[in-house]
Structure formats: C-alpha cells, structure tokens
C-alpha cells in the first residue's frame, strides 16, 4: 500500500479543492495535487507524478514514471492499486 503509482495529470477538475484528473495506466482518476502545485494550478497539467492513495505526492519525469510503473508491475503492485481504485469507486455507492 505504500508504493504509489505514476500518473499524468491531464486536467484541473476543482481548483478550490486542488483536484485534478490523472491518467494512471489507462485509468482516469481524480486526485489531489496540493503536494506538487506551485503557482497557478493549471501548471500541473501535463506533469507526471507519483500518485499515492489519491494524492500526487511528488513530481517525477516521464522516464522515471515508465521505470517505476514497470517495477510496480513486476511486484504486482500496479494491478493491486488499480483494483483498489475500482473498489474505492464502488465504496462511494455503498456496494463494496
């Protein structure tokens, strides 16, 4: 649960709450970008970040993102994280 997963920020969704849409391994998920935001929030669009439990914790470059994703796949952590994201969506509806 501690490893996080790389994702790319594609759009700002709620500037007041510091929320943005991230693309994580082909899955879209809203994340909080407060830890990586500097200046106007639009600045995060296009950036890669290590996303941990719904927060963009640290900015990384694209090559690092690819390497990290591969390492996480090797450990089975990438799949686990994507499953946890899906479980989180189900929990909102009270079905999990």
């Amino acid at each position: 649960m501690c490893l996080g997963i790389p994702g790319q920020i594609v759009a700002v969704t709620d500037a007041d709450r510091m929320m943005a849409m991230a693309e994580v391994s082909g899955v879209r998920r809203e994340v909080n970008v407060a830890p990586i935001a500097q200046g106007p929030l639009e600045g995060v669009i296009g950036k890669w970040a290590l996303i941990h439990v719904g927060f963009a914790m640290s900015e990384i470059d694209e090559e690092e993102a690819a390497k990290t994703l591969e390492a996480l796949r090797g450990l089975g952590e990438a799949q686990e994280t994507l499953e946890a994201m899906a479980a989180g969506d189900a929990a909102l509806e009270g079905t999990a």
Partner: protein, 380 residues
C-alpha cells in the same frame, strides 16, 4: 545467476552483483560472519524476495527485514478498536483494503464486515470524505494507517473536511513514523546491524535528514533506495562500500524522486494536523517512544478517538499475541519466518495468524510466496 535475466537491464544487474561480491570479499564477510543489512521498508522486503536478491547476493550478506510494513506492526488492540468502531450502527467504517485481514482478538475487519458491519474498502481518504458528503446522517470514520508516505493524505483530507465544515467525518489515527523504531532497534543490545537500506517513498515526504542520527550517533550507514531491483542492488553496494571504507553517511540513491528536504506541502500539512504521541505500541516490538502521531486538539472534531472515546485517549490496553506466534522474534531478526512453528501450518496468507503474513510486504508472506531464502535450505 539465472534470475538476473528477469531484470530490466540484466547486464547492469550482473555488473553490480559482481561489484557487490568483490566488496563483500574485501570486507571479509562470510556466511559464518555476515554483514547485517536491514531494509526498513516493506516494499523493499517484497522486492528482495520477488527478485530473489537474497539468493543472488553473496552469502556474506544477511538481510534483516525491518518494521516498515504498517499493516504488520499494527497492534491487535488497535484492530479490536477498529472493529468496535465499525460495529456501531451509525458508523460507516472506511479503510484501505490491506487492513481488512489483520487478525484482532475477536475478529478481523473482514469478519466484522461479514457479520454485517458497514465497512467499505476505499482507495483514498478522499473517497471517505466523499462518502461523508453523501451520507450526512451517518458517521464516516476513516482508518488512518501508514508511515510518512500516507500521513500527508489524511492530514490534507482533515484540512479539507475542516474547510467544508463536515460534521460527520473523523479519522482513527494510527499513523506511525520511521525513525523512532530504527532508534529503538539500534538501542537493542541483541540487534546486530551494520547498515540500512532506507525507504524511498517515506523519504520523498520527509527528505533524508531525519536519518542523520543513524550516522552521527550510531555510526551506521544508510542509503535511501528506489524500488527497482537494480536500485536496491546499487543501494546495497553503496552500503557495503561505506562499511568497507569505515564511513557512516546518509546517502541518497533515489535522488531522482527523493528531494533532500522532502515535500514542503506535505510536511506542513502533517505538522498542522498531527502531534507526536508520547509513545505508541508496535506489534512485536512493544511501546516505542514518540513513534506515533495523534490529531491535535484544534482538529478534535475530526478525531475518532476524541469523538467516540476510544483508543489511547481512553486508556491504552495491550493485548497478548496469539499462542505460538513468533512475529516479534521475526520482526527483530532473531529468527527467520520458517523457524516459526506456525509458518505455513497455522499461519498462511489465506488464514493469517500473525500480521507478518497479511500483506505482501510482510516478511512471512514474502517468504511464503516466493519460497524463502538460503535460510530455508539447511532445514530441508
């Protein structure tokens, strides 16, 4: 060295492995007189077993698996308190999935859910916030669990709840910090530790300086490492070189992700919302001074301990580990998982008796899944 082929860059891996073998020789470490290197982080424990790094590296290196798996060090009494909270009819209890199977005295969260408690597995504390918004007539409790990597996420969520004035969202705070247990292990006269591989993602938040005492006061090297197997091997090599040269420094192998001073936004959020507890109980290790965090009085409205009168605030209670469970001895490196009489018998990943079997980051689960290390062989 067949496993090295699995590496992203097998040629680079072989070169580092050769170099490791050379430095181990220069140190004069052997199977009988090994250097003891602790990898602190459970993610590293998992990677070491997954890639068989303990088998690929020379016998003169003995890996000691550190306390860096938050699920594994969660005391049984805290699991009991989670169940107690979750069984209140007004409560929706939200948690990371990892915590579901940790055994408590009466039952795990998984069993409580099966018995009808409204327990929901979420990916993020932000999911718990959203559940609270959608269910204003219920009390939503989030089980805040984890080291410094995870702590900012609950701190930022509590700040957000405060801004919105949410009245039905609380966090049951079980956040713990990495440096105090390391100090406790270094102070333990029975522990033999020659150097450390430091956690990458914890350090991404706190930076490298919280480890300075390990080099300055205890004269031991620590190298912050990434999660790729090659990162880990390089870090082990850096630790070995320090040992050979008689140096003790805090080095950062993972500088591409870990800034020297960590993440300022995350650190500020942690400081705003949390304060140190005088001590906190760790499964297998006992009470450790200043090793846990609690929610500051200013945020008491979001503190499940304060709101429901549960936990440390209401008088701590320590619970004995189950009969035959050797988690404490494994955690302090005194025995290997296979030497626990319950290993693979009364304790498996499907039916864990001890917490080290629950998460893939726990030493026992990693041994079980990947068939253990050299230490298994003499017993066979």
């Amino acid at each position: 060295m067949k496993y090295a082929d699995e590496f992203r860059d097998p040629i680079a891996a072989r070169a580092v492995l050769d170099e490791i073998a050379k430095v181990v020789d220069q140190i004069g470490a052997t199977a009988e007189k090994p250097v003891h290197i602790m990898e602190i982080c459970g993610g590293h424990t998992h990677a070491i077993f997954r890639y068989g790094l303990d088998k690929l590296t020379p016998e003169g290196i003995e890996f000691i698996h550190g306390p860096g798996c938050p699920v594994c060090v969660l005391p049984m009494s805290r699991v009991d308190e989670c169940v107690e909270l979750a069984e209140r009819p007004e409560v929706i209890f939200t948690t990371f999935g990892d915590a579901m199977r940790v055994p408590g005295t009466r039952k795990s969260l998984m069993q409580a859910k099966a018995d009808g408690a409204d327990i929901r597995m979420v990916y993020s504390p932000l999911d718990a916030l959203e559940i609270a918004r959608r269910n204003p007539d219920r009390e939503v409790v989030f089980f805040g669990l984890g080291f410094e990597t995870t702590t900012p996420s609950t701190a930022l969520s509590i700040q957000q709840a405060a801004r919105e004035g949410l009245e039905n969202f609380t966090v049951f705070c079980n956040h713990i910090t990495v440096p105090p247990p390391i100090k406790a292990l270094l102070d333990d006269p029975h522990m033999v530790l020659d150097g450390f591989v430091g956690p990458g993602h914890v350090s991404m938040v706190i930076g490298v300086h919280p480890y300075d005492f390990i080099a300055e006061d205890y004269g031991k090297p620590l190298v912050v490492a990434g999660f790729e197997p090659l990162d880990l091997l390089q870090s082990v090599l850096m630790v070995l070189e320090q040992i050979r040269d008689g140096r003790a420094e805090i080095e950062n192998q993972y500088a591409r992700v870990v800034p020297e001073n960590g993440n300022p936004v995350s650190i500020a959020a942690i400081k705003d919302v949390y304060e140190e507890r005088p001590s906190f109980e760790w499964r297998g290790l006992g009470e450790i001074d200043a090793s846990g965090l609690r929610i500051r009085p200013a945020y008491a409205a979001f503190d499940a301990e304060a709101k429901f009168g549960i936990g440390y605030g209401a008088g701590a209670r320590s619970v004995q580990e189950p009969e035959g469970c050797a988690c404490g001895a494994v955690m302090t490196g005194r025995i290997k998982p296979v030497q626990c009489e319950q290993f693979g018998k009364g304790c498996t990943p499907e039916m864990p008796l001890g917490a080290l079997m629950v998460s893939s980051e726990g030493a026992c689960a990693a041994y079980y899944q990947y068939g253990g290390a050299r230490a298994v062989e003499p017993a066979e």
